[in-house]
């Protein structure tokens, strides 16, 4: 009997699923060694099939997506019970990811944005509700929680695999490790470890040339007349999140002249990715009095969105006050 494998998506985009498929023939290794018991993207097992499984009968579950709705939370708890090893897979489950940016605003304001935009015709101000009586019976929708949470803020997590999505070569390496574990040829790292990623920062994997920095201007990418392909992007004035971001991706974005946006999460040892990037930037920028410092920082029109692009939900503060403060 092959051990059971599951992959599930909560508030996610499906990119993690595609990333697994992008390991190409490695998916066949997965199939050869595991019984894929639940993976809504790719096969037809339903929720009732998971509920019917014995606790702990899934050897490993890859859980991607953040916890946004009561259904996401229910599935996180259910899969925790049914799984021996639960992996927070991808940026959203590990650190909140892009959907975590919703923690900067209120559900209230989001309702207005969604149901009153330029193309919405809604004269009766109809809104979706969690329970609605259709003529035939009751229809339910899961409640939305005011603050998006990471998987480990809801259930204990065995391993963290960062990336948006995790790169295919890293997923392949983890599949290989799992196969070896199942065959008794290797053991898993200590619980709580980060897997499928490096031990340093993106800068370490980036081939660009680095010099002593004294950044006097930060520019928006579209303002750059030319981007030198050989020199560090941060030195050229593009705010690159590389210094605060964990390695493992092979620095793909800087290699195509796009600054790192931080999708591999906080660098090892950093409790808060945004704080780490702020610390790093302060060390390499010019400015010895407030006005000079402000002139440089005016080149960052959206600090919260830039420093916490992927990591807001897992950061020390986790959200802005708009998301959780009760109305006065």
């Amino acid at each position: 009997m092959k051990p059971k494998f599951a992959m599930y998506w909560a508030a996610s985009c499906g990119g993690c699923e595609i990333a697994v498929l992008n390991t190409d023939a490695k998916v066949l290794d997965l199939d050869a060694h595991f019984d894929v018991a639940f993976w809504p993207a790719a096969m037809d097992a339903k929720y009732r099939d998971v509920e019917a499984m014995a606790d702990g009968s899934l050897l490993v579950t890859l859980f991607n997506g953040g916890i946004r709705t009561e259904e996401n939370e229910h599935m996180a708890r259910l899969l925790r019970r049914k799984s021996q090893v639960l992996v927070a897979f991808g940026a959203c489950a590990t650190e909140g990811g892009i959907p975590g940016l919703a923690n900067l605003s209120s559900l209230e304001s989001a309702m207005d944005a969604a149901y009153a935009g330029p193309s919405t015709v809604n004269p009766g101000d109809t809104r979706p509700v969690t329970a609605w009586q259709a003529p035939e019976g009751e229809l339910r929708l899961p409640r939305l929680e005011p603050v998006l949470r990471t998987l480990d803020q809801v259930v204990p997590v065995d391993y963290y695999m960062p990336g948006c999505p995790p790169e295919a070569h890293q997923i392949a390496a983890v599949v290989d490790l799992l196969v070896q574990v199942v065959e008794g040829k290797a053991s898993l790292p200590p619980p709580g470890s980060v897997i499928g990623a490096g031990d340093s920062t993106v800068c370490d994997e980036c081939p660009r040339e680095r010099n002593v920095k004294n950044i006097t201007r930060l520019a928006r990418v579209q303002e750059m007349v030319a981007i030198d392909p050989r020199v560090c992007l941060l030195e050229q004035g593009l705010l690159c999140s590389g210094p605060a971001t964990r390695s493992g991706c092979r620095a793909r974005c800087p290699q195509v002249s796009a600054p790192c946006i931080g999708c591999y999460g906080a660098a090892p040892g950093a409790l808060d990715q945004g704080a780490r990037l702020m610390a790093a930037l302060a060390s390499v920028m010019a400015g010895k009095e407030p006005e000079a410092v402000d002139r440089v920082l005016d080149g960052i029109p959206d600090p919260a969105g830039t420093f916490y692009r992927f990591g807001l939900a897992h950061s020390l503060l986790r959200s802005g006050t708009a998301a959780w403060k009760a109305e006065a």
């Binding site: 595609i18 259904e71 969105g305």
Partner: protein, 500 residues
């Protein structure tokens, strides 16, 4: 009333569930496609710099991130009133063609195809890509893997990564092509053309050559007469990256074409209380409920819609298949939803041919790939065809280029009403009194939406907020007597009451 729940919908992108209600006789009274997910992009993108949008909105969907990436790039171009240089535009379209090829391959072989290759009622453990590969064998399975690999490898060369490319910025792209890269991309594109041809042959044998599937495809169970939309170029041929949106009636008459900034004249979105997904319809026809026909504004946006809304394909092999398709189906437009699978493979071929055309374009290795915007940023709309339907990004910014308004009408969102109709009809046809409703039969109902290749994460980018509980009190005729609502704090509409 007895209720059958399909939860979750599987072999698609995103979250959805289907509730089917049966009356006492055992007939289907009604069914509801409910989408239970939201993340809130239209709200949390506000305040972000517009050049972030190709990277932020690609996270709406990891199956079609390139679609959002390109729509966002075009909307950002429009916000700045900037036109990328020809090479920049071609590099984007080349990436996009390779992506389309990979995505349509994924859908046919991994998401929708297993229903045909393994059979709709095959055991769950086999009715998926792993079962397909075991059945068709390593060689054919290997080619499917190779096809996805080539498509994603091309995206990676041009866009930096296989999933969530990062090279489009307002005014163009950050990475050009070397001749070495161009040669590799051309080689992969030519292989892709052959793979697409082989896929159409496989469809011909495995689906059209199977009487049961042929009947399902050509018959009425999965058919609806709706309006169709899709992007077309100046000669009204299908184009995925640019053009005007063509709108045709159920009889095949073109109502007109619209430019991106005109979309609100044509498309309106309706809200229902039982789904987080909104329901677009054609404004000029109006919302008449969940019904099809020329008097209903319900429309569809899928590969089949694009073929219906266009006058042809812009590449020769795909054009020949286009003609063969309409001849076999008995004319234009085609309404049978399972034919979307066939249309998808014709687009697979077009995507591959276009890939080669662009890879061999003399300008494709030009270093002139980006211009610096000079105008003040204001407002812009960008439209592309996502594999699942027409994708519209509409932005307004302040004069620093920070977003003040984001409105998205997304591929699958277009199809909310059409999918609901398809599921309802399939359920009514397949579930009869005393029919044993087993897992295989429910899968046949799911096939009704799978043809659309839904991307429900895309469809429900929006976040409605703290939801209210609403109770409707109805009399025996179903007339609403009173609506009670527990509203969230803050301004809310007065509850509607009517005395008995």
């Amino acid at each position: 009333m007895q209720r059958i729940t399909i939860d979750p919908m599987t072999r698609l992108e995103g979250h959805g569930k289907i509730e089917i209600f049966l009356d006492e006789a055992g007939n289907v009274a009604n069914s509801y496609l409910q989408v239970p997910e939201l993340r809130g992009f239209e709200r949390f993108c506000v305040g972000r710099p517009v050049e972030e949008m190709p990277n932020l909105t690609s996270r709406i969907c990891g199956v079609c991130p390139e679609a959002h990436h390109m729509a966002a790039a075009k909307a950002a171009d429009a916000v700045y009133g900037v036109v990328p240089p020809p090479a920049g535009r071609k590099l984007r379209e080349l990436l996009y063609s390779a992506f389309f090829f990979a995505d349509h391959t994924t859908h046919f072989y991994i998401l929708g195809g297993p229903d045909f290759i393994m059979g709709p009622e095959a055991p769950v453990a086999e009715r998926n890509i792993l079962g397909v590969i075991r059945k068709v064998g390593a060689e054919v399975g290997g080619r499917v893997i190779q096809a996805r690999h080539f498509g994603h490898a091309t995206v990676e060369i041009l866009g930096g990564r296989k999933v969530h490319p990062c090279t489009s910025v307002p005014g163009g792209v950050t990475k050009g092509l070397t001749e070495e890269e161009r040669v590799e991309i051309e080689r992969m594109g030519r292989w892709a053309v052959e793979f697409a041809r082989g896929s159409l042959e496989l469809f011909s044998t495995a689906v059209l050559g199977n009487p049961e599937y042929r009947e399902a495809l050509m018959g009425d169970t999965y058919s609806h007469r709706t309006y169709y939309i899709g992007l077309v170029d100046a000669a009204h041929r299908v184009n995925f990256y640019d053009g005007r949106v063509s709108v045709v009636s159920p009889e095949g008459e073109r109502l007109g074409t619209y430019a991106p900034h005109e979309y609100t004249d044509w498309i309106a979105e309706r809200v229902e209380p039982w789904s987080y997904l909104k329901f677009p319809y054609l404004k000029k026809v109006g919302w008449k409920g969940f019904v099809d026909g020329p008097d209903s504004g319900v429309y569809m946006a899928t590969p089949l819609s694009r073929l219906n809304a266009a006058d042809g394909m812009a590449t020769p092999l795909a054009q020949a298949e286009y003609e063969r398709f309409y001849e076999a189906m008995g004319g234009k437009p085609v309404h049978q939803r399972l034919a979307i699978h066939w249309a998808r493979l014709i687009e697979l071929l077009y995507a591959a041919e276009r890939w080669v055309e662009l890879a061999t374009d003399p300008e494709i290795t030009s270093p002139d790939i980006r211009v610096v915007p000079s105008a003040r940023p204001t407002e812009g709309v960008g439209i592309v065809e996502a594999p699942r339907g027409t994708l519209t990004h509409h932005y307004r910014t302040d004069d620093r280029g920070l977003l003040t308004m984001v409105n998205l009408v997304v591929g699958t969102t277009n199809n909310g009403a059409a999918m609901s109709l398809s599921i309802n009809k399939a359920a009514r046809t397949l579930i009869q009194p005393r029919t044993p409703v087993d897992e295989g039969l429910l899968n046949r109902i799911e096939m009704a939406y799978r043809a659309y290749d839904p991307c429900l994460g895309c469809a429900t980018h929006a976040l409605p907020g703290r939801v209210a509980l609403q109770v409707s009190i109805r009399d025996a005729r179903g007339e609403v007597l009173q609506v009670l609502r527990s509203a969230p704090p803050g301004p809310s509409p007065a509850p509607a009451c009517r005395a008995p």
